[in-house]
């Protein structure tokens, strides 16, 4: 920690800690078998949390409450909202933000960075391979039918070359911290990961709410995310395009009803690129154009936030009105670049996920730096039997879903829900996987005027163009309901700022 903390405060803290009364400051702060980000298992604040801990003790709750209100107002004014599907009530909500930053020491971050860099390099090679020669399938590292039966496998991509062999330009991998304090990857999101705008908005607000604390902590900046994203998009522009020097880039959104529409407008505005819907684009003679008030303008690169299925009604779902007819053929001809490429979802299928350590080993010859979570493949008879017998202990997930949809959390499920999932699994075992219920780590949150522990995960955003740009931090998602393990914003989760520290913490 920085030198701001004086020796007497330190002494006081240590005294309190050893007497076990530190946590008495936060009567509702419950520690369970999970790793807690702020407190060690004996209730002593971890070194990198001392300064925040002290601030929480010193600040009157009224001050914190005011800060929270100011933060909420700021989110409201910025229009930071998201949409929840399957909800009969109003679907648009303010994204709940928690006031207290989640703090990650620099040396922990470096390991995360190395692990994610390794992982995206391997997954990108995997995508290139399965859409070309398929060595990993011929070598029987991954069963061929597992890949070909993926809902997000796009056979239309076979033999098609993508710009610079980059399939995944933007990736958001979800990390969890296990009870022993180590990080593991829970899932990868290689299609259209969302949430980065909340990461940037959280930071903007927290810098205002805790200016001194922020400065004294030496937090790594993340503001360069959008310029790095823009650079990645530019690097994909077709070389034969007339606009080579100044490529024309657009962000394709499904429209105002999409859960991440706020983010689409935010990113387009930050990068100074056009925000378009499918109906704003057209393809003529294999070239993509944007309809503008001054006529048609060629588009070189599309940051698409529309799923593969809906991109082009000629090639994919014929009933899609969100896409652009002929887009895939323009893409095939190399006249427009898409980020991410089409067909990346096969690599974040939850059954393929189980093979990621093998994928890393196969392409890079290395052991994985960030481990996976144990995953039961229900196509394996022995694993299927175990899962059906232990549904109340496991988490069951549909393989092609994301956002926490199609999921059963065994310990929190009813017998009726388990029966329903049992029937679905038996009918289509390939469509589900199971994992042990994880004790996600918990972090301090400011709730109802007090500080309480809530479960969190971490989604860093990885930008890739052969090398990796990883802004230090990410979106820490919070399960706001007490005891809940579901952090997805679509399932009632919130988020908080994530502070990666520039230098090592020195206590005393």
């Amino acid at each position: 920690m920085n030198t701001a903390m004086n020796a007497s405060a330190m002494t006081l803290l240590k005294t309190l800690s050893s007497s076990g009364t530190v946590r008495n400051a936060f009567p509702n702060y419950e520690l369970d078998e999970s790793y807690d980000e702020m407190f060690s298992s004996t209730g002593i604040p971890r070194d990198h949390y001392h300064a925040l801990y002290r601030t929480l003790l010193e600040l009157p709750p009224e001050e914190l409450r005011k800060s929270q209100q100011a933060a909420d107002l700021s989110f409201l004014h910025q229009g930071i909202t998201f949409t929840v599907y399957d909800n009969k009530e109003g679907t648009e909500r303010i994204f709940p933000n928690d006031l207290l930053p989640r703090i990650i020491p620099g040396e922990e971050w470096r390991k995360i960075e190395a692990g994610l860099t390794q992982r995206i390099a391997a997954l990108n090679l995997f995508l290139k391979d399965i859409y070309h020669e398929g060595h990993i399938l011929a070598d029987k590292i991954i069963p061929r039918e597992l890949v070909y039966s993926c809902r997000h496998f796009r056979r239309e991509m076979r033999g098609l070359n993508v710009p610079r062999d980059i399939y995944v330009s933007i990736c958001g991998s979800d990390l969890v911290r296990l009870p022993d304090g180590s990080f593991a990857v829970l899932e990868d999101n290689l299609r259209v990961p969302s949430g980065v705008s909340y990461m940037l908005a959280n930071r903007k607000v927290l810098k205002r709410v805790f200016p001194t604390l922020f400065r004294d902590y030496g937090v790594c900046p993340i503001d360069h995310y959008t310029s790095a994203l823009l650079a990645i998009l530019r690097s994909l522009a077709p070389v034969n395009s007339a606009g080579q020097n100044e490529p024309s880039i657009a962000l394709l959104t499904p429209g105002v009803f999409n859960s991440a529409y706020f983010e689409h407008t935010f990113l387009a505005q930050q990068m100074g690129i056009e925000l378009v819907e499918g109906r704003d684009l057209l393809v003529h003679d294999n070239i993509v154009y944007m309809r503008t008030t001054s006529g048609l303008r060629r588009v070189d690169v599309i940051y698409r936030r529309v799923d593969d299925d809906f991109l082009d009604p000629i090639t994919f779902r014929p009933d899609s009105n969100l896409g652009v007819p002929g887009l895939f053929n323009a893409y095939r001809a190399g006249n427009v670049a898409l980020a991410n490429a089409i067909g990346t979802g096969v690599a974040d299928d939850k059954a393929i996920y189980a093979y990621v350590p093998s994928i890393v080993k196969y392409y890079l010859g290395e052991d994985e730096i960030l481990p996976n979570i144990k995953t039961y493949l229900l196509t394996e008879k022995s694993e299927l039997g175990y899962v059906l017998d232990n549904m109340d202990k496991l988490v069951i997930k549909a393989v092609g879903e994301s956002g926490g949809y199609g999921m059963l959390i065994g310990p929190h499920s009813t017998a009726e829900q388990r029966e329903e999932f049992r029937a679905r699994i038996i009918a289509q075992p390939r469509n589900y996987i199971a994992q042990p219920t994880l004790a996600l780590s918990s972090a301090p949150c400011f709730l109802d005027g007090g500080v309480e522990a809530r479960h969190v995960d971490l989604r860093p955003y990885i930008l890739f163009n052969g090398s990796v740009t990883l802004v230090p931090g990410g979106l820490t998602r919070v399960a706001l309901r007490r005891g809940s393990l579901v952090v997805n914003s679509s399932q009632g989760g919130g988020s908080k700022d994530t502070w990666v520290l520039r230098r090592e913490i020195e206590v005393d």
Binding site: A138, E156, L282, D285, N286, P313, I314, N321, P325, N329
Partner: protein, 316 residues
């Protein structure tokens, strides 16, 4: 045998539509047993035609018409040389065990997994049970029996199913056209662990042959992979093993991979789709103009966005 093929697809719209975008798979394949000597494609109104080969090696042409138009015509003409191949005989084909080991070492999953139109259903399982089909004896004999059994079990009737009918529509009354019968046989063959694929193409009608279907449409059949001869054609609509009269245009997992035309447009209009196909031996060129047969009249629902072009069912 050299064939001359003329395939005309016309759409008429009232009122006019705009922004048509279309993909067509109408160029006969160029491969070992079949050579496409000449091919031409004509679009009216005029459009730039672009082309690519899809992941199954089929040639695809595509184009777009941005302005308003009330008619739209695609004319494909080809001269194709098809070589006669002696039909494989039982005994010349390897065993089920040979098949399994070839499948295990090759890239056949695409043609083994269920696909959109060729997948098992309750009604299909009933049919399979009736046929008492099992993996025994000679794989080719089993395929021939199945081909014959499907031919016998189904009446060839047009217009009881449509281009996007699931197989249950044909299974329910045991009636349908070549597209349905092919999907049904593909689903059964794959259940037996035999890789199987859909073929879109043309059949040259011949006097005296007992073909059930009339002239004037595209045809569909299937190919099963057998150890020894490789891909063998079966035509359950006509109880034939594919040969010199079958002209291959495109192969896929099922119809969804290889429709002769696929496209969308903008507009709210009454539409009429007509199709004409003429296949004649080239040494007897026919100069007579062919009359397209109206196959479908529809009205698109009144809504914003893209409408799908009506598509021709593979009926012959």
């Amino acid at each position: 045998m050299v064939y001359s093929i003329r395939h005309v697809t016309s759409f008429v719209y009232e009122p006019a539509i705009r922004e048509s975008v279309m993909e067509v798979r109408v160029q006969p394949r160029n491969e070992a047993r079949q050579r496409c000597l000449t091919f031409s494609l004509d679009i009216s109104p005029r459009a730039n035609i672009m082309t690519y080969r899809d992941f199954l090696g089929n040639t695809v042409h595509h184009f777009d018409i941005p302005g308003r138009h009330s008619q739209f015509k695609v004319t494909a003409q080809a001269l194709v040389d098809v070589q006669a191949v002696p039909a494989p005989t039982p005994g010349a084909v390897g065993s089920w065990a040979d098949l399994d080991s070839m499948v295990a070492s090759g890239d056949f999953s695409e043609m083994l997994l269920p696909s959109q139109f060729a997948q098992s259903t309750e009604l299909l399982r009933e049919l399979t049970a009736e046929l008492r089909l099992e993996r025994s004896g000679d794989p080719l004999e089993r395929m021939l029996e199945l081909n014959h059994a499907i031919y016998g079990a189904f009446d060839y009737v047009q217009n009881v199913t449509s281009v996007d009918s699931p197989i249950d529509d044909a299974l329910r009354d045991r009636k349908g056209v070549c597209q349905d019968l092919s999907h049904i046989m593909i689903a059964i063959v794959r259940e037996l662990g035999v890789p199987c694929r859909y073929v879109s193409g043309y059949l040259c009608q011949r006097d005296g042959a007992h073909d059930r279907s009339a002239d004037g449409a595209t045809h569909a059949w299937l190919e099963a992979f057998l150890p020894g001869p490789g891909w063998v054609s079966f035509d359950p609509t006509n109880d034939l093993v594919g040969g010199e009269r079958h002209i291959r245009v495109a192969v896929g997992r099922d119809y969804a991979d290889v429709p002769p035309t696929r496209g969308v447009y903008k507009g709210d209009a009454e539409s009429e789709l007509s199709v004409a196909v003429m296949v004649t031996p080239a040494e007897a060129p026919s100069s007579e103009e062919i009359t397209p047969r109206t196959v479908l009249r529809t009205r698109s629902p009144n809504r914003a966005g893209w409408e799908q072009f009506q598509h021709e069912q593979q009926q012959q």
